[in-house]
């Protein structure tokens, strides 16, 4: 239930922010992009409400992934550490240059160098492509691995005794945890 709530917040929060910006009339052309206009929305507003929270989330994602890698290594979970770092590395790849570009544009009076503009324009839209390619890579492995895990855990549970009050919880946690890990990081 709480996990569902996390996903709901992930959608509702940007929706609320976007609605507030709309009601305040802060949209317009900003160089290459059509979103918060520098004419209507102050640099501070864009920095504090948009860029800094995203930067914070990126850092948090990286720290979380490192924590997962730590758990994986210390407990010999058998997951690939490189794979575990795949998603945060992708986020870094997509967001680093655009963040530098935006920060540069907001804090410096000098024009952002063209290579940085070009890289930003190329990298930012590739989030979907990046995730889709990743999904395609894990797709072939997912069915087999998940099925094997379900079978393996089910047999372990059977060995533990009929009607174990906590057996189903173990199955659920392990299958769900490992399935979502395989989907995104294996």
């Amino acid at each position: 239930m709480l996990l569902v709530l996390c996903f709901v917040v992930a959608w509702v929060l940007p929706l609320i922010l976007a609605t507030v910006f709309l009601l305040e009339g802060q949209y317009g052309q900003d160089a290459v992009y059509c979103w918060l206009s520098p004419v209507h929305a102050s640099t501070r507003l864009r920095l504090y409400v948009y860029y800094l929270p995203i930067l914070f989330l990126l850092v948090m994602n990286i720290l979380t992934s490192l924590a997962v890698v730590y758990v994986n290594r210390s407990q010999h979970m058998g997951l690939s550490n490189f794979a575990l770092l795949w998603v945060p590395l992708g986020l870094l790849l997509v967001w680093t240059v655009p963040t530098i570009s935006t920060t540069w544009a907001n804090v410096s009076s000098q024009t952002v160098p063209f290579p940085v503009v070009l890289m930003s324009a190329t990298l930012l839209p590739t989030q979907g492509l990046f995730n889709a390619v990743f999904f395609a890579i894990v797709l072939g492995r997912e069915k087999k691995i998940v099925q094997e895990t379900i079978t393996e855990i089910a047999s372990e549970v059977d060995d533990g005794g009929e009607g174990d009050a906590f057996a189903t919880d173990e199955v659920k946690l392990r299958v769900f945890g490992q399935t979502i890990v395989w989907y995104f990081v294996n």
């Binding site: 996390c6 929060l13 976007a18 063209f114 503009v117 979907g128 906590f166």
Partner: protein, 188 residues
Amino acid sequence: MQLFRPPVGMLTAEQIVAVEWAMGWSSGLSVVASFLVIAYVATKLFLQRFRRRPSVTVTGHPSSGSEDYLTTDFMIGTRKQTTGAAQDAEVWLLLWFSELSVLCLMVADLGSALWYFLQLHVLGVGCSDALAFFGTVFEPTSVLVVTAISLSMLVLLRGSLKLQTRSAMKKTVREHDYPLFSLALFFF
């Protein structure tokens, strides 16, 4: 033809063409790729709903959806006896939920990529409040969804580890790592 309109003097005509070309290809490919994944997962979920879902009732609780199962099983310390078929149903629901997570992420990515694609005015739309609103909603959502997923991974891996022994299992069922979830919500 100059498709987007940067401030005068910011970019040369050649540079504008290069940016348009780069953004057009990357966003176009993202739109197609995201859409294909969404179509695949949505079709799979649709077919599973009719073909694989076992009709099971967990003691006293009708199987009315993933929320009921997750709420009942993860949040209440005392567990009920379940049949093998009920276990299958619960495992199936968790797999279904993880596929929904994929769907959620790819929809955010599709919206974001579409927004970038529309920046180029290829559909004849100029900068409008609707387009800006669209982008402001979808652009950060992808990052937020990834955050939710990575936190889930950490919580679930920790939960999985804690279920190594029976005593630890009982403890986990009681506590459920709620502080981590609370922390996640605080960050959002």
